[in-house]
Symmetry: C2
Subunit: 212 residues, 2 copies
Amino acid sequence: MEQDVLLKNNLLAERNRGYFEARKIMALNFLSSPGSGKTSLLEKTIPMLLAHVPVAVIEGDQQTTNDAERIHALGVPVIQINTGSGCHLDALMVNRAVKEMELKDNSLLCIENVGNLVCPAMFDLGEAKKIVIISTTEGDDKPLKYPAMFHEADICVLNKTDLLPYVDFSVPRCRENAMRVNHHLEWFEVSVKTGEGLDSLAARIKNLAEHR
Amino acid sequence: MEQDVLLKNNLLAERNRGYFEARKIMALNFLSSPGSGKTSLLEKTIPMLLAHVPVAVIEGDQQTTNDAERIHALGVPVIQINTGSGCHLDALMVNRAVKEMELKDNSLLCIENVGNLVCPAMFDLGEAKKIVIISTTEGDDKPLKYPAMFHEADICVLNKTDLLPYVDFSVPRCRENAMRVNHHLEWFEVSVKTGEGLDSLAARIKNLAEHR
């Protein structure tokens, strides 16, 4: 039964993937626990990208339009999906949102998933890459305790490096744990607050968008 | 179908509740995002309680026995449940664990759920109280964005108050947001790291355990 749900989702995700390919849209799925800084990361990174590529955003949350309002303030097309009791975005939600948004050809679509380090890992949305964000306040053992997400991800962003002096967190140990789960992971370290490391991440996203 | 799963779970949760009532066991369900500090909170609080009440712990995680090992070091009975791809503990897992553990009459059972601010809210385990933990690094809008969990909880613990000088987080706004979702919430502010506020929380748990 759970398999039925996942199978249906996988089919629709492939339809989305075809849609994105046809329009040369680079779709990225941003995933993390609540409060790791997904929205802040988009707020800081999108302005660095807009000179190179048109950007649109889909925001997922159980409730509120807080995040969409923050993205809207950047002057970027954004749609908020509220999942209610639901714990993840699914391919159908994205399919509907995409059609409502009139995305530009050759653009970048950032999908910010519901804050949840567990369930969204299982739901393909048709994205080209999954980007998992963790923060230095969450403990360096998280990749081992929640391996599904790190196994599925293509890129891992460690956020809140500005807080390293105040927390018990070993960056090398966290990275090692993440690589044990998935040695293909690309690894970035950033502080959205200070801006440290965002240049490299934005360059990588720009590069992805240019090779869609 | 989802309703079937929840109904079955609710029935078994009531069976657990009867079991706990018969043995005068106070069962508490600790819930939060990954990395909010559930295990550290238990590590610091349980020693403050052991003079008053026997304590046992059930640990939930997708993988690893890290948390159980940390609790075991306190000399307290503990069982680790690994949910694999599962995103929450359910009543059946707790029922089986409880029977394996030989809990003492008149004891306190702390159940640390899988780190997930979404799904575990829907699964009654038969506990007397749900305790949700959030941390000052997660953003003060989390109760509004993930209201189901705050609606179901009885007690809210704000952890990592030691990091307040370094993060953009308003304690009054967070509390107000939590109370908007559930005005019955009991509210505690703690720093597991410095120990600040743990006395009051431990006193409240002791009080709960004495009135089971």
